[in-house]
Subunit: 173 residues, 2 copies
């Protein structure tokens, strides 16, 4: 899945209609991006995987969430979340406090260190994105953002519409 800039892969218009070509392109480019996202995260902030970053970001916005909430939200297995959180706690980025009302649940909180790490990474990502999109006219940025939101708003699995189920066996791509 090559960048569109290289003449290496010629998008084939299957139906001949422009909309079909666009569909192919969207599919192809989205796949390209997906393959690159992890790598981007790896280069940009090796200390914080994309999952960790995501979970951390979630906790920043919604402090006091439970592990189960995160698992449900991201449609990750609770064991996966548990392990991720363990790592984050081990790294001192979050705290797990037992809920006094229900000793089964853990209430999750960002530590100061976690907040700082998140801020650093966010800033680095923001800079990278800003640089990458520097020469885009504002109008295009707004439209692109709107398209992406609209695209992602599509319910991907289940009635919830907010789950992106991960798949056994790691990365798949």
């Amino acid at each position: 899945m090559t960048a569109a800039a290289t003449p290496d892969e010629t998008p084939v218009a299957p139906g001949g209609r422009p909309a079909d070509t666009a569909l192919e392109t969207i599919q192809r480019e989205m796949t390209t991006f997906a393959r690159r996202a992890r790598a981007l995260a790896g280069r940009l902030h090796p200390e914080l995987s994309l999952v960790s970053y995501t979970l951390l970001g979630h906790l920043e916005e919604r402090d006091g969430r439970r592990a189960t909430d995160l698992a449900a939200h991201y449609a990750l297995d609770k064991s996966t979340v548990s392990r991720q959180l363990s790592a984050l706690e081990r790294a001192g980025l979050i705290e797990r406090r037992v809920d006094p009302d229900d000793h089964r649940v853990q209430v999750l909180h960002l530590t100061e260190s976690g907040r700082h790490a998140l801020d650093r990474v966010t800033e680095r990502r923001r800079t990278a994105f800003r640089e990458r999109l520097a020469d885009w006219p504002e109008e295009d940025l707004l439209r692109f953002a709107a398209y992406l939101e609209r695209y992602n708003a599509w319910p991907v699995a289940g009635p919830d519409g907010d789950r992106d189920r991960a798949v056994p066996g790691g990365t798949y791509g």
Copy 2:
């Protein structure tokens, strides 16, 4: 990283300017998409991982490539490619023939079975994308496609501009 449709995550405009908000949104939504892509592939065609699909697709367009070409193109380690190709060959989807001119290299070819598998998966993906984008006006499709191409055309690593370096340790998100 929640879908924009849910009121769960409020995009914060850091600078207050619309373009900044758009930047945040793009970053967030691209990340969302990246997390979902593998899952999409897993649901859509569990028999063909996104990597395999990508490699197979590459071979369809450029028959007779060498493993090293693929490794360079996708910036994967040759060992990774080697194992992926082994799996594909074991599944009967590709053939590895020794280059008569240089017995070190293997020339890669899709088998009939491989072509069919690829076609099936491509069709399934196309259908999914088509369904997902069914109610988009053609104009938006074209623009969205153009934006994505433009976005991905950005050189991600190295002077080549066509490498998306994978990262040790699997998925990263």
